[in-house]
């Protein structure tokens, strides 16, 4: 499918101006009132088209998980809209939300804490079916067995407990749980970060196979850029709660525009001793999202920082075809 064709159709998920602020309470707790806000996600917009994979990269604490969780309404957004079809997920009531949740599933980063240690795998996988009242007991078991087979688990795993599995196997279970209700969109929050190198590739391949088979749409969150590059059609780069650059994968790697993206790409160690490349070493630490810098959030570490960067936040522009960036370097020639 060509990108143009994709563009012309209506997106499956359309997120506009998503904001999520966490209130920080003073030492007096609820009595003292709100002291300030952690601006975990600050005005993020993107679209997700059926069948594509949007990768999100960014450093720890930049708001990737919060974004994913907010879209699923696991926490309530501070502002913004998220259209799934014609419906704004953020406006849905309990019943309607439940219906939508069948279509949007999540795979979590930590394969160890995302499975209830006291439930057998069978129970864990049947739970979503029970919640959505799909099928009777027999059908559920069959469906689960089928799904287990799909993700490469054996029959006898059905009765085992999570602790009897390795991380890779658990991540397969997590995947099976997400897929057992036949979702449209799967939000995977760093599904391979906790895994060993040799297992990581197994899961990535599996994700891709399943995507092809079920025509899934992925929102793939990770901090490992090479993984994101491998799996994504488009990539969004986040920094301190904002999406600083968004572009099709090839375009991003061929021509990273935002200085942060450039630094990020150059910082990734390349497993090839022959190819010593020039690294951009950023100065300083990532600022706290509790009081992000004024103006452009990146100006404190930016090698190209200009005066305007300190005062004015850059707006998003389309620098090349479908290549969005928020940086004064491109707005003020």
């Amino acid at each position: 499918m060509s990108h143009e064709a994709m563009e012309s159709r209506k997106p499956l998920l359309d997120v506009r101006g998503l904001k999520k602020y966490f209130p920080v309470k003073g030492p007096l707790g609820p009595l003292g009132g709100v002291k300030s806000y952690v601006k975990a996600v600050n005005d993020v917009s993107f679209q997700l088209h059926a069948g594509e994979t949007l990768g999100i990269v960014g450093e720890s604490g930049c708001g990737k998980s919060t974004m994913g969780r907010t879209i699923l309404r696991l926490t309530d957004p501070t502002a913004g809209q998220a259209f799934y079809g014609d419906e704004d997920i953020f406006q849905l009531s309990g019943k309607e939300l439940q219906k939508i949740r069948r279509d949007m599933q999540m795979v979590f980063q930590d394969p160890f804490s995302s499975l209830n240690p006291r439930k057998r795998i069978g129970q864990i996988l049947e739970e979503p079916l029970a919640i959505h009242s799909i099928g009777d007991t027999k059908e559920r078991t069959e469906r689960v067995m089928e799904m287990m087979h799909k993700v490469g688990l054996q029959v006898d795993h059905y009765f085992r407990y999570p602790h009897e599995f390795s991380g890779g196997q658990r991540q397969r279970i997590g995947l099976a749980r997400a897929l057992v209700v036949n979702p449209q969109i799967v939000i995977s929050d760093e599904p391979v970060s906790a895994l060993d190198v040799s297992i990581q590739s197994q899961i990535i391949n599996l994700l891709q196979e399943l995507q092809a088979e079920y025509r899934l749409t992925y929102l793939f969150i990770a901090h490992d850029i090479s993984v994101v590059r491998h799996i994504s059609d488009r990539i969004g780069v986040m920094y301190l709660g904002q999406m600083v650059e968004q572009a099709p994968t090839e375009s991003l790697f061929a021509n990273p525009l935002h200085p942060y993206t450039q630094a990020l790409l150059s910082a990734v160690p390349i497993p090839n001793p022959q190819r010593k490349k020039e690294q951009i070493i950023l100065r300083g630490e990532i600022p706290s999202p509790m009081n992000p810098p004024s103006g452009c959030i990146f100006h404190t570490r930016c090698p190209h920082a200009m005066d305007v960067c300190k005062q004015e936040a850059p707006s998003q522009i389309e620098a090349a075809s479908r290549h969005m960036v928020s940086c004064h370097l491109y707005t003020k020639p």
């Binding site: 003073g26 030492p27 007096l28 707790g29 009595l31 003292g32």
Partner: protein, 316 residues
């Protein structure tokens, strides 16, 4: 930190309110009242009723509560029905024995428990560890009144080393004072010591497994310093918590211990006041004990901050 303190103190208000209501209710729905106790064995019901009226015990319950709590808020805990003292005086005069007893028990407990706990942790799995743990289990299993009885029989009556009962204030001389307190303190401190030993051991074990212990060793820190400087300070936090929490147990234990050893402390005051239905005293003392408990835990919290810098800053 200051704000944190303020918060802690504010949080006490509901706790104390709950305590005051619970105690007031329980005490007042209990049969028997101070009037009949004052009047003695063969008083008639009419006499009792008359005195009840004079003492204001015939008012509706909520009114009695309001009267009491308003007085308390004004700092007046009331008058004993029974003793020629105000409740605060009664508490004050009964406080010293309990304080001495509790402090001595705590000192004995700590002196025994912390070295034992450290030893057990360092020699985990050895016979020494098992012996220490065995004793500490025994210490937790033996009811303090049984221990007290055995101690009285053995040390007091058979060997006559120490007096079996009674109390001498500090003014009577330090040794005299201590002489009377050793047995009760031991029987009261036993369970304390058992608990602290276990806590010391497990928290030491936990700390010994921490990465920073390995890191310290990788710097070439010597064994003694490793244990007493690096480990103990970290391990002390949970121990401190246990000490704070078992303070409640200390008062509870004191109720029994003071009865057996006839020590005129808070515990005995409570028991006696319950027996006499001396409402004001019971309420006052329980409120006081609760405050003390909460206060001690507040101090523990503050000590936490002294020991662990992470606590000094505002918490999340």
């Amino acid at each position: 930190m200051n704000l944190y303190l303020v918060k802690r103190i504010l949080a006490l208000i509901p706790v104390l309110f709950v305590v005051s209501v619970v105690i007031f209710l329980i005490i007042h729905i209990t049969p028997g009242d101070p009037a009949s106790v004052i009047l003695g064995e063969s008083a008639t019901a009419q006499d009792v009723e008359a005195l009840r009226q004079q003492l204001g015990l015939d008012l509706p319950m909520y009114q009695q509560y309001m009267n009491w709590i308003l007085d308390v808020l004004r700092g007046d805990l009331g008058e004993s029905y029974f003793m020629k003292e105000s409740v605060s005086e009664a508490i004050f005069s009964h406080l010293q024995p309990t304080l001495s007893l509790a402090i001595l028990a705590q000192i004995i407990a700590l002196l025994i428990a912390i070295p034992l706990g450290i030893t057990a942790a360092l020699r985990r799995g050895t016979a020494a560890d098992q012996t220490v743990m065995g004793f500490s289990l025994l210490g937790m299993a033996i009811p303090s009144f049984l221990l007290a009885l055995f101690l009285i029989l053995l040390v007091g009556v058979k060997l006559q080393w120490l007096p079996v009962a009674g109390y001498k204030p500090l003014e009577a001389g330090l040794w005299t004072h201590l002489k009377y307190l050793i047995l009760p303190a031991v029987s009261l401190g036993a369970i304390q010591s058992a608990l602290i030993t276990r806590m010391t051991r497990s928290s030491m074990l936990e700390v010994l497994n921490m990465n920073y212990m390995k890191a310290a060793r990788s710097k070439g820190v010597k064994d003694r310093q490793l244990i007493y400087k690096h480990a103990l300070r970290n391990a002390f936090l949970p121990i401190l918590t246990v000490i704070g929490q078992t303070f409640g147990g200390l008062v509870t234990g004191a109720v029994v211990t003071e009865t057996i050893f006839n020590i005129p402390g808070i515990g005995q005051l409570i028991i006696n006041s319950v027996e006499r239905r001396d409402y004001e005293v019971i309420q006052g003392v329980v409120l006081f004990v609760t405050c003390a408990y909460v206060f001690i835990n507040l101090i523990v919290d503050i000590l936490y901050g002294v020991i662990d810098p992470r606590v000094r800053l505002e918490r999340k």
